[in-house]
């Protein structure tokens, strides 16, 4: 869907992007991660043709991008504003027309979106009269009004209350199901884990990682497993004997626990289950993966040691 190749961009002597390559597949939610000042916004601006790269290319559906392609891109910048004196409807019509829609089309789409996001009571109110969350909903609607094939969202959840964060997430998932491609630049790692299919990590103007979320997490996995069980903790520890090590435990109730276990020697997860069955009542068991937050911090800090 979108291919970014060997992009370089400098602002005078400061290198903003260095030989950056990215590939975003059609119908996926792609996370663009990185600390502040890493170059994410610069990359997004280049994709949106707001600024020009010094070298390299951006291809959309195989073709070099032109200004005409902007009609197929929706963009919600991090630092987004609205004309405070305009009414919600007029503002949406203005931005929709800039994206090439006719007024008639805009009105039809607005009816749908305003209904869905419950904006109708504010339709003829001035932007300055809206709450921050409501203004953000309007901004989101303006970004998706022209039904773009590619939607680029820079920190879309900032400023939203948890209910609206869920609303937006839900909407993004629906859009993905409808075949849209979404690039999500965010610091909200929980959202990345929840809705992103793949992600790239940019640090100090370079891409330092790219892959599916599970691939990225696997890179830092530590061989820990969690077991939720009913029974006695003493029985559980006895069953482990010398082949496994109890790293941590959490008491959920009188006879209910979550235990985190590390393998010793060549023991596998299968072996662990074998020794436990019959000793306790296993409710659930899973491999402990690092959170994206951990992956992010470790990648950025250059720490390659196992998580313990």
């Amino acid at each position: 869907m979108l291919e970014v190749k060997n992009i370089n961009k400098s602002f005078y002597r400061n290198e903003a992007l260095s030989d950056l390559n990215l590939s975003v597949n059609k119908g996926e939610i792609f996370g663009l991660l990185g600390p502040n000042g890493a170059g994410k916004t610069t990359l997004i601006r280049i994709i949106n043709r707001i600024i020009q790269q010094d070298s390299g290319s951006v291809r959309l559906e195989g073709n070099l991008m032109t200004n005409d392609d902007l009609a197929h891109i929706g963009y919600l910048p991090e630092e987004r504003g609205l004309y405070k004196r305009m009414t919600v409807e007029k503002h949406a019509v203005f931005l929709g027309r800039l994206r090439g829609l006719s007024k008639k089309d805009i009105m039809i789409k607005l009816d749908y979106w305003f209904e869905k996001f419950n904006v109708n009571p504010w339709r003829n109110k001035r932007i300055e009269e809206l709450s921050k969350g409501m203004a953000q909903k309007v901004q989101f609607i303006c970004a998706v009004l022209h039904e773009p094939k590619l939607l680029i969202l820079d920190e879309p959840f900032s400023g939203f209350d948890p209910i609206n964060v869920e609303l937006i997430k839900q909407e993004l998932v629906e859009m993905r199901a409808a075949g849209k491609t979404i690039i999500l630049s965010t610091h909200n790692m929980k959202s990345v884990e929840e809705i992103c299919d793949r992600a790239a990590l940019i640090h100090e103007s370079k891409k330092i990682a790219e892959g599916s979320i599970s691939e990225l997490q696997s890179e830092y996995k530590s061989g820990l497993y969690s077991i939720r069980f009913r029974g006695s903790m003493i029985g559980f520890v006895n069953a482990l004997w010398t082949g496994f090590e109890l790293v941590d435990k959490e008491i959920l109730g009188d006879d209910k626990f979550v235990a985190i276990v590390k393998m010793r020697r060549d023991n596998s997860f299968q072996d662990l289950l074998k020794v436990l069955i019959g000793q306790i009542e296993i409710e659930a068991a899973w491999e402990v993966l690092p959170s994206m937050q951990d992956v992010f911090i470790r990648k950025v800090s250059g720490d390659n040691s196992d998580l313990n």
């Binding site: 005078y12 601006r45 949106n48 043709r49 707001i50 600024i51 200004n67 902007l70 891109i73 963009y75 910048p77 630092e79 987004r80 504003g81 609205l82 004309y83 405070k84 004196r85 305009m86 203005f94 931005l95 027309r97 800039l98 994206r99 901004q139 303006c142």
Partner: protein, 445 residues
């Protein structure tokens, strides 16, 4: 282009709907009308009684002017030659307001000269011309006596009386009409400054509330800047139209009801005329009617409004784009709104300089510096207005078109320079603007 129009339409609608727009569109011209009324009523009344010295070298007039004495002009006669300089400087002539030069030639070429110290109003000019013309008729009839006065009037040629300031016989320095030009020029700059500031504030605001990034994902910075210039320009145009209509209607109303034209037959009162007919000639009764000061005459008779307004429009539009682009560029290069205010200072200085150039031209229209200002795009909108009001000499009218073309080329160049600054500056936030930035952005494609 389509996107520029959408942006222009938004700018236009937002501003035209603002209360301040309506207030300024109506109160502004009413304020100017009020000033004009005050000027008409109280402003510099011209001298009502004139002492005219007739330099009658050949004794043509025989120390006579009119059979009946006109209370507002007293003629004295001097049978000799008086040069303008003598009249201007010599102590003994200081009591006279004007020198009327008459010699034998006047009988054949029908051209006389009047050198005044203070500019006479139109009615005083008519009076003197009327008196001299009547007297010359008498002299001619007396000389070639075989024809009746009535028959002679049928075949006579009109007298041309040329008026000149004795201190400035070549009429180089300012006159009132020039002030009207300066007023027009100042009006151009007032509008340019007002709407230039609107552009600057609007750009700086879009930067500070970050809507600019949303817009830039759909339109190029150049389209955005043009859209803004066109939209706000239309607002200025509509506002100016309001001013023109209200001031025009106000002047018309004043002419019809408060300061009617006394030389217009339609305004003569028949009854008064009949009574006065017995005592005075009809022309005299005209003179006896109420008189106005020089401003009334200036506004209604001397200024060529149609001509000036047409050129005003042209210079206003092109000048607006020239300066507007500059304001937009400043707005785009600033890091914050308050930063923009600081950068306005040089622009204000530039506009003041243009007004000064207009004033300078008013006083020294023939100087080479005035000619330079006439063609300099920063100052030409004001200076051309002043020159236009003063009147271009024969064969000089090409200068106005030359100035227009120079301004047009400069405006186009300025638009390109501003577009580059706009493009490179619009997404830079929170920096302190220095000339270093500006030069960098100018160099960057």
């Amino acid at each position: 282009m389509k996107n520029s129009i959408i942006i222009a339409a938004r700018e236009f609608k937002e501003r035209i709907g603002a209360r301040s727009f309506m207030i300024f569109s109506i109160l502004g011209p009413l304020f100017i009308l009020g000033l004009i009324y005050l000027l008409f009523t109280f402003g510099g009344n011209s001298k009502q009684k004139w002492n005219v010295l007739v330099a009658d070298h050949g004794g043509l007039m025989q120390s006579k002017m009119m059979p009946t004495q006109d209370p507002s002009v007293v003629y004295s006669f001097y049978e000799g030659v008086i040069t303008e300089n003598e009249f201007a400087e010599a102590e003994k002539f200081q009591q006279y307001d004007a020198l009327l030069e008459v010699n034998q030639k006047v009988l054949s070429n029908k051209v006389g000269f009047v050198f005044y110290r203070e500019s006479p109003d139109l009615r005083m000019e008519s009076r003197i011309k009327y008196h001299l013309e009547r007297r010359l008729e008498e002299i001619l009839i007396h000389r070639f006596g075989k024809i009746s006065l009535k028959e002679y009037r049928k075949i006579k040629q009109p007298l041309t009386l040329k008026f000149a300031n004795v201190y400035d016989p070549n009429n180089q320095s300012s006159d009132l009409a020039g002030w009207v030009g300066l007023f027009y020029g100042a009006l151009i700059f007032a509008f340019i400054f007002l709407f230039g500031m609107t552009i600057l504030r609007s750009v700086a605001k879009e930067k500070s509330n970050r809507i600019v990034e949303v817009l830039l994902a759909s339109v190029s910075p150049k389209q955005m800047m043009f859209g803004k210039l066109i939209g706000i320009g239309f607002v200025a145009f509509v506002q100016f139209a309001f001013w023109l209509i209200i001031i025009g209607a106000g002047l018309y109303y004043m002419r019809e009801n408060i300061f009617p034209d006394m030389l217009d037959a339609a305004n003569l009162n028949a009854e008064t005329l009949t009574i006065k007919a017995g005592e005075q000639s009809i022309a005299e009764s005209h003179f006896a009617a109420r008189e106005y000061n020089q401003f009334v005459e200036l506004i209604y008779q001397r200024v060529q409004f149609v001509n000036m307004t047409s050129f005003f429009m042209l210079f206003f539009i092109i000048g607006y784009f020239f300066y507007g682009a500059l304001f937009a560029a400043v707005g785009a290069t600033t890091g914050s709104e308050s930063d923009g205010q600081q950068f306005v200072l040089p622009l204000i200085f530039l506009l003041c300089f243009a007004l000064f150039a207009g004033y300078y031209t008013l006083n020294y229209p023939e100087s080479s510096l005035a000619t330079f200002f006439h063609f300099l795009p920063f100052t030409s909108p004001v200076v051309v207005m002043v020159k236009l009001a003063q009147g271009y000499g024969e064969g000089e009218s090409y200068q106005i078109y030359l100035a227009l073309i120079i301004l047009l080329i400069s405006a186009i160049t300025m638009l390109f320079i501003a577009a580059r600054l706009y493009k490179n500056g619009i997404l830079q936030f929170g920096h302190r603007v220095g000339f270093k930035h500006v030069f960098k952005w100018l160099k960057k494609v």
